[in-house]
Symmetry: D2
Subunit: 288 residues, 4 copies
């Protein structure tokens, strides 16, 4: 169900233990919050519990701060980390790109039409090419060129933009530079990359050319949180597209664009809807 104008989201996670669901649902009931949708999962491998709840406060004067303060006391007993998301929340975002524009174009469309509840604070690139696209959408565009010598400096400037804009999410929409380990760590759990292959197949550079050489009959895309192991971050969404013997590498590039856009958009949508939990090298995704 699309969240209506009065629907909040409460997400939480903690070590596995009896009563983890109860502590959430009882508090909501006592707070006269009406649960419209709830999913929970207890991972017996990692012994960790995850829950996502959509609810509507029944009283008109719902006080989010008081709610959080009161719940924090109960959550503490379970070592439970939680987050409350308001109905009108729009996550502040920075998008990083290089020269390919399809993912950026797609995100900007979903942003402009309100399909994605994000607020794009800046577009950052190591190339000037996509500035007109950002301009048309009235968005600041930062061009930070990069060379072997200036890599560290460029990253510092990117980080400045992230900090100053208050971005909670960085989207690497076909950004073709490898981030440093330090940057990856700073952005852990809040930077989503789209890789143009079905990971773990075809890591690294030119995956479509690798796919052509191998003669695969499906190409794909993988959206994942970045970590310091290139193309090895926890996977959020994956998509595929059939290809054939007559497709040259450039055809695979062209055919892959749509599935890259869709796969990235779905990952971002799930992330901002608080449907994704980072869980070690994997993710928990409560699908709609």
């Amino acid at each position: 169900m699309s969240r209506s104008a009065d629907t909040w989201i409460l997400t939480a996670q903690c070590p596995s233990r009896l009563g983890t669901v109860d502590v959430v649902t009882r508090f909501l009931k006592e707070s006269r919050c009406y649960i419209t949708e709830q999913q929970s999962f207890d991972d017996h491998h990692g012994e960790r519990f995850f829950i996502r709840t959509e609810f509507r406060p029944l009283e008109p004067d719902f006080d989010a701060e008081a709610f959080q303060a009161a719940f924090a006391a109960r959550a503490a007993e379970f070592e439970m980390a939680f987050e409350l998301t308001a109905p009108d929340a729009r996550m502040p975002v920075v998008i990083m790109v290089s020269k390919a524009d399809h993912c950026l174009n797609d995100l900007l469309y979903r942003y402009r039409t309100g399909q994605l509840p994000i607020e794009i604070r800046a577009v950052v690139s190591n190339h000037p090419d996509l500035q007109p696209l950002a301009d048309w959408h009235g968005l600041p565009y930062y061009h930070f060129p990069i060379t072997a010598e200036t890599k560290a400096e460029q990253e510092a400037r990117v980080w400045e933009v992230v900090e100053e804009t208050g971005a909670e999410l960085v989207i690497l929409a076909r950004y073709m530079q490898v981030l440093s380990s330090d940057m990856c760590e700073k952005l852990s759990g809040r930077a989503i990359n789209i890789h143009h292959s079905l990971l773990p197949g075809f890591k690294g550079a030119k995956p479509y050319h690798q796919a052509f050489e191998k003669g695969v009959k499906l190409v794909g895309a993988t959206a994942h949180y970045i970590n310091d192991d290139l193309d090895e971050g926890p996977i959020i969404t994956q998509g595929v597209e059939p290809v054939g013997h007559a497709d040259d590498p450039e055809d695979l590039v062209a055919k892959g664009r749509d599935i890259e856009c869709m796969t990235l958009a779905r990952a971002v949508d799930a992330h901002v809807a608080r449907r994704v939990f980072l869980h070690g090298r994997r993710t928990v995704v409560f699908s709609r």
Copy 2:
């Protein structure tokens, strides 16, 4: 997660009201039952609440009868209907067929290998053709021929088999006779049919021939609960398969077989795992 040997399922539904989740989860906690997976949904259209919970009793001497008796008292206050399903439950099933054997063959394979937690008590048909297949699996096969005159009588005998075998689910695995309104009512919510089109497209007879005439580029299959409105029962699962200009009606028939098998098997799997709730003319399906 595949249910382990000690995982029970509790499903429930009731009119929408504050506290519906809480009454379930609080009781489970008090009963020292550990929730491993839970999904709930509150339908604001129908003002009805649905919940499905998988849990493991932490105490070795879990008493299902006592659990149900105790929970019934609490559920009554919410007009909540509920069902408790044991870890080793195998739903007793009767399968109805005519001449086409692909869905039956598929179900028998999943049954024989334990993939589907059902216990097939009988195969019933208006034709003798599929007896050898039932025989090989050691299953009783009832051949009740049907004519315009004997239709009511035949249905009575089918009903006898359902009653005597204690079947909780009837699967119409390409059974090509229309059931009477009376029979549909008796089997409401516990008879699943596979129709070989993407309903509501191509209702009635020879849907693949209709699809050929129309020149569609996708054919499909729909598994649904039966009701007395032919091919209009609440949909559980649907699947599709691409087709092309070179496909004759017989090709569509052949290409559709796999998707019919898969779509029916998924519906049955969801039903026996108590993932499906009948909700007026629609269904609520908590997917895995």
Copy 3:
């Protein structure tokens, strides 16, 4: 294979008869044209033959006019209609829209980046809303409002635009007005509409709302040539998207957008690549 800069397309159709392939391939060989890809299909239902050939002239001074004149003589014997398409052909197109912008936005992106070999000559709408989008792409936008009284007049103006721009294809990218029979006839085989359902399911208005009422588990989109029978024109491409019980009609609308864009883009791509043949109430589509 993506057509390289020197690859021509020859398409043809005629009544079924011995030698239809031979007349094409022999002529190409004699003309020293090198066939890189060829597909033919002889429909035994309609007794009609279809062929599509991609070829590279081996001589540097390929004369398209002379080629056509020479081939016409041979084709005549087979009552064969044919078309020769140059490597750099860009089909002139008029796009018609109402208020929804997702399909237009998608087509404009593919146009701007050269993915679709079309040349958009105008955007025509019965509403002013999408003018800024057309403006940014530097395209003429014609706003022809429509009322019950002005319908005929508006269509006349649309037709004028089609004529004056020399458009060979009209794309109805979520144009929400029914065209007159006369207009449908004039545009026969060269106007593609996107309908937001899996036809023949949910014809007419508000198909997603119909789909919600029916409780389907898949929604879809259908791109088809228009004819004077509403939503009954010959189908080119269809696509689907899974939906669930928690999706309200507005969610179906939102979830359907991507598949509408993709389905329409694929139909347009196939049409301009001369992969689609109109064949009575059906189409022949030589897929890549």
Copy 4:
């Protein structure tokens, strides 16, 4: 179009050169053979030409031997290898299995119902488990146990079965032993293996467990010709299935079965319909 009772298939390949299509189609016309469907592809990477033609002889006394002899003379000039397949051809096949029965069960069903035009001459296994299944279908079952010491000897016996039965295709339907390089070479282009991952991801043992560790959101299956590089043979077909965080490795195993069966069946179907051409490390597949 499903091949009717009088439709022959002619396939051919040769080095790229002007006139390759013409030599085929002209001969067919002169032989009064009516082409119903034709696809050709010229690979500019490998400079090799491939063609597949379905045709109906118009004269009642079509002489296949004379046809081949006459065409051989023309083909020789183009160094063209060709194959003529009769309407009623059923390819003799040997199936190899270990303990998992789903692919075998699926192939046997398609064989028994005539969906796959093959003639299964024997089932060979390194385990006795699947003998009852073969027995029910009236098929010889050879149990050749295997140990490190007897591996060469066992392969020799397998080869004997292949030779003696005249098998033209060997299907490795989840056969869990690696074949020797010698055996792979002998079976080059006529042995199809199903690997339970989307190659090149997750080669080798226990791919579903690897997929679980990696946290992928899609699992898949790959049907390929074997070669002496394990899981690296030319790919024919691939299929995928969505999975989620709640799926344990055993769930992936269960969910993957259907897609393995479908992917293998499609590869075998394409191979026996002469739609697949081995082309170095890749394949050309003329899809329907």
